[in-house]
Amino acid sequence: MRNRTSGPFALALAAIALLPAAAAAQAEVVVANISAMTGPTSGTHMMCQSGSRDYLEHLNQQGGIAGKSGKVKVKYVAYDSQYVAAKAKDGFARLLEQKMAIWTQCASGHSDALVTDYETAKVPLVTGSQGIASLYSDWAYGNYHSGIANMIRTWMVWRKAEWEKAGKPGGTLVLGAVTSDEPYVPLALWDIDTFAQQQGVKLVKETFPKGTTDAGPQLLRLKNAGARQIYVIASAPGAVVVLKSAKALSLDIPMTQCAAATLGDVIALGGVELAEGYQGEYFFEPMSKAPGLADSAGMKLARELWAKNHGKEAPNDMYVNGVLSGMVIAEGIRQALESVPPEKINGEAIKRGLDRISGFDAQGLTRPISYVKDDHIGPKQVRYWVVKKGLVTPVSDWMATTTFRIPRK
């Protein structure tokens, strides 16, 4: 009996002995995420984080990321910054000790606070953040980013083009902006009056306090000033307050949500009826788009990943932003693997890989991405959508964003 069992037993032992060796052969790249997993912005941040995590896990399940020199798997680690810059910096130190080679985040003002940290550590950042002031750093790569100050600028260019197409009704284009007093708003409006002047547009601005339940007076003043369209710079709760106030006043001025929140967020928070006719800007393909519109291959994958990992929950557009970040990260690693062996993949190698990205289409989730020296902004393309019966449909084609940069302080 002993003889009969010793053979398989020895084989099993050998297999167990070989397992660590086999595992060691598969190199691992640590991808880190610093997001507000708790706190008021956690909803958006968690969606982004889940998107990139799910996409990279999906690649792991398919065997990893492969290049000419070999294959790597991704280890995804995260730190909860609670939207506090000091905590984000603590988290960066912690993740560095966990050997992070590349990091990502969603949207937060504290992103700029980390520039020195990731430049010094030579760990590239891939971001889908509009909250970041500008991508000054040579180590930062945007997956749709054009900078927070370009949201309203691009919208003004769009509205001016439409107004000119309509034969310049009224003689002067008057546009309105209603903003909450959230900390990122001054960045969004940075030197905007000069830009308005250059465009020959009269821009009227109104502010309502965060947490208020009525933005009626502000909207009325914009109406009295003759605003033909209104741009809303607020997160989703603020946008809902604006929409409710507009409804109470029977205001019929079209309004557009800035990218601080998606139309999907506003629909989820305010309801289908309230969001009807509300416009929004997307730098990527939204998940909440009308079913009649064809999905890109990337969107089909995003929907599959969502169904697999979060099937019971309602989908959110910011998830796509996360998937997009995951795709850029994976492409950077893949490019790095073209010339660097898996065991030597580090931040600098991935940066060189990201620098080689050219015409990357992210399976159609956004316009092609190319990174060149001094320009890591990303696709720099935006498309405007409108809510119709709880789903979004495009009201513009893809168009180039403005590329204004807030001066580095």
């Binding site: 680690v77 995260a78 810059a85 910096k89 700029d112 520039v115 001054p186």
Partner: protein
């Protein structure tokens, strides 16, 4: 039993005024304090704990101790409620940050102006304390948080956008890593803790305590209430300003978002949990809350990974519920704070085995 903890152990005699005034009355206390300081300043060279992450936490705790010491002097010792401490930290932070970043002042020269600027603003918001008490006074300090935040948001463009702050330097050494800045932060923490400890044993400290216990009685004893209340505000906000100066030079970055009402609430929670009117309690409270918060930050992502059946974000948020529960339990079981619990432990040790 508890009261024995406030007195020196049996056999320790204060036969001179100098001996009676000693902060540490026994040799054991002095040796332990010296060892503690040596251990503290040796942390950056001890393998295992000298990782940047851990040192950053200790530096953050040291800065919070300074800010909370100020708050405890005002709220714990003088009885004036302040729920806007983070706004005064912001004044100091921006003063020091701007002096360093735009005027080229060295960090060392910017610390005192930062404290004085915060102090000047603090005194302005402290003026209503002559007529207001308790929750009403709290509202004025809440006003400070809102007003100063508004000024930083709309009044000065770069405080809303944030700006880089150069690291502290001494000669050719730049304190630009946690390993180096640790010594700066801990130096200030020890110095300001010692100052606070001494201050509370002085005429000024006794006046603060008298005002807290009964302001009318204090006035009847000849204490100029208005002057001393304003002094308490000035000292509290000076501490906040110095804390702010350290914070921005630690982060090498200054931005409005780092100074929120939520931060003010955390500072107050640290003081209350640690023990109002206690210097040791302030340190205990800061350490306790810091460890709890860190637990959320580290365990949250892990919980999110493991508890996939919960809606997105619910697992990490769950830990905040746990923290809230601990805070409630703490309030119910030990309303006098950790300092009181510590004094009970000391009394038990001194009286053992006859602690009946």
């Amino acid at each position: 039993m508890a009261r024995t903890a406030f007195y020196p152990p049996s056999g320790v005699y204060a036969d001179t005024y100098a001996k009676d005034m000693r902060i540490m009355k026994t040799r054991a206390q002095r040796v332990l304090a010296a060892l503690g300081l040596v251990l503290l300043f040796a942390l950056p060279v001890i393998p295992g704990v000298n990782a940047a992450y851990y040192l950053r936490l200790v530096i953050g705790s040291g800065i919070a101790v300074i800010v909370c010491l100020g708050l405890n002097i005002l709220t714990g010792y003088c009885g004036q409620l302040n729920v806007g401490q983070s706004a005064f930290v912001m004044v100091g932070a921006f003063t020091s940050g701007m002096l360093s970043a735009f005027a080229g002042w060295p960090f060392w020269a910017s610390v005192v102006p930062a404290g004085l600027a915060a102090s000047a603003v603090g005194v302005v918001f402290g003026i209503p304390s002559v007529r207001l008490k308790g929750l009403y006074l709290a509202l004025t300090t809440l006003g400070a948080q809102v007003i100063l935040g508004w000024i930083a948001l709309y009044g000065i463009s770069f405080t809303a956008a944030g700006f880089e702050v150069p690291p502290a330097r001494l000669g050719g050494v730049a304190f630009d890593t946690p390993q180096k800045f640790f010594y700066v932060a801990m130096g200030f923490t020890v110095l300001m803790t010692f100052f606070a400890r001494n201050l509370m044993r002085s005429r000024l400290g006794r006046a603060f305590i008298a005002i807290r216990d009964n302001d009318r009685a204090a006035e009847a004893m000849g204490i100029d209430i208005f002057r001393y209340k304003l002094l308490a505000f000035a000292i509290c906000t000076f501490y906040a300003g110095v804390g702010g100066a350290l914070l921005v030079h630690h982060m090498m970055w200054a931005q409005l978002e780092s100074f929120t009402l939520q931060d003010s609430v955390w500072y107050l929670a640290m003081v209350i949990v640690g023990g109002l009117g206690s210097i040791e309690g302030t340190i205990f409270g800061v350490l306790f809350i810091t460890v709890l918060k860190e637990l959320v930050l580290v365990v949250g992502p892990m919980a999110h990974d493991k508890l996939k059946f919960l809606p997105m974000g619910a697992a990490s948020g769950l830990l905040l519920v746990i923290i809230g529960s601990i805070a409630i339990l703490f309030g119910v079981l030990e309303p006098r704070g950790m300092a009181h619990r510590w004094s009970l432990v000391k009394a038990f040790y001194r009286l053992w085995p006859f602690g009946y």
